[in-house]
Amino acid sequence: MEPDYLATVLLSSLSSASILLIATLGLAVVYGLMGVINLAHGEFLMVGAYSALTATQIGIPYVLAIPVAVMITMLIGGVVEVLVVRRLYGRLFDTMLATWGLGMVFNQGAVLLFGTVSPGIGMPQYSIRIGEFSLAAYPLAMIAVAAGTLAFVYLLLTRTVYGMKARASIQEPEMAQAIGIDSSRINMLTFAIGTGLAGFAGAVLLPIIPATPSMGLFFAVKGFLTVVVAGPVALTGTALTAVGLGGGASVTASFMTSVIGDVFFFLATALLLWLYPLGISSKWRRKL
């Protein structure tokens, strides 16, 4: 096998693992950290994508459309936390039903507003050559974006006062209040950061994955599996799982077919959950 072909496969697989990680980080915060099953996560990603698309259509440069999408999804996330999620903490099944319904509303709202087919935005036409192969640069840049986003979330939650308050409020809610933390405000912010990360994913992946009302489903399924396999050490576990499962599936797909790649993903998930029912990180002594 040619070394340049191998390098191409590895790079593009790392890139698809990174895309999975970008789409999953919001879930790692909302489900992995907070324990809230937000079945509307994929729809938040979709809202982020449409927000960025609409922003570019009214003339805002794409680079600025991304923060616009993050702000919109954070805002909606904050409102959803106050109106729905806050009332259902600790009621897993009710939360699932409520957020599932919310997802349907978002989905149908997008169909009504934008129709089922929407124009993509052009991918920046840069590419790099490896031997006789050529790879588009934008998907490769997602490796750096994933690493950067992961580092940002990690530092936000471990090195800032907000991050300590957020983890304290999640781990022992009553004691967090008893030492002076306004935990309902902090939980709202944490949920909004999670949905904002979904919005960021939708916006930053827009050149690769065009906005459609049902785009969220694909990421929601793989994202949830990734976070469940990751277990309680939400961020490190999710990063490792996304690279392992997403990268592995992509390598498999390059040598065989994309269907077999997906089969690899689901079989590996089943195997890992059989070996580690509480997630691969259940015995790790790490904060995050």
Partner: protein, 232 residues
Amino acid sequence: MFKISNATGGYGKTIIIRDVSISVKTGEAVALLGRNGVGKTTLMRFATGLIPSKSGLVEIDDRTAPPAPAKRARMGLGYVPQGRFVFPRMSVAENIAVAAASNGHDAKETIAELLLDFPLLKPKVDDLAGGLSGGQQQILALARALAIKPKILLLDEPTEGVQPSIIDEMAGVLKRMNTERGIAILIAEQNLDFCLSIADRAYVMEKGSIRMETDRDRLRHDKALQQELLGV
């Protein structure tokens, strides 16, 4: 300084404490005694605001306390719960830092001060709190409560499941906090010796009410009272 007046409350529709009134003066250490299940923990949780009040009033630092537990903490109410409840996936340093920072105190300074008071925590400062032994967690829960720089400290069964050497250390620190820094203390306990070494005065609870108020000397010498009230 700290006062609970006519407290009535419980869980859901079940009333556990009825019309309880107690007070702690500035710099005073008071014990709350009574057998298991008489409502000591419920009274503590009533004082912190963690259970809603059916009726009654809490005053901290001579001001009426608002219902929110976080606001009560910022008024100077420190709380060490029964069962410790440290933040398990946070380091020892973070457990203290988050309490200090939430009340506007410098986190690094507070950690340094408290490590002087609790040298036992020093080698564990970067470990996750969930990995500490029961006694170490109890010390950490105490350090966390002190990190808010409380005016009144509530302790709920702090010696439960803790080894004797750590109980002695805890008694020493509490005595010092009380006499040197003037922190008022209200301590619910089964361990009478521990209580007597710290508190000057005691309330005795029975069936959700205050049965009597007594002082250290009477408690220490009246064996019949000890037997009757505490089963010791």
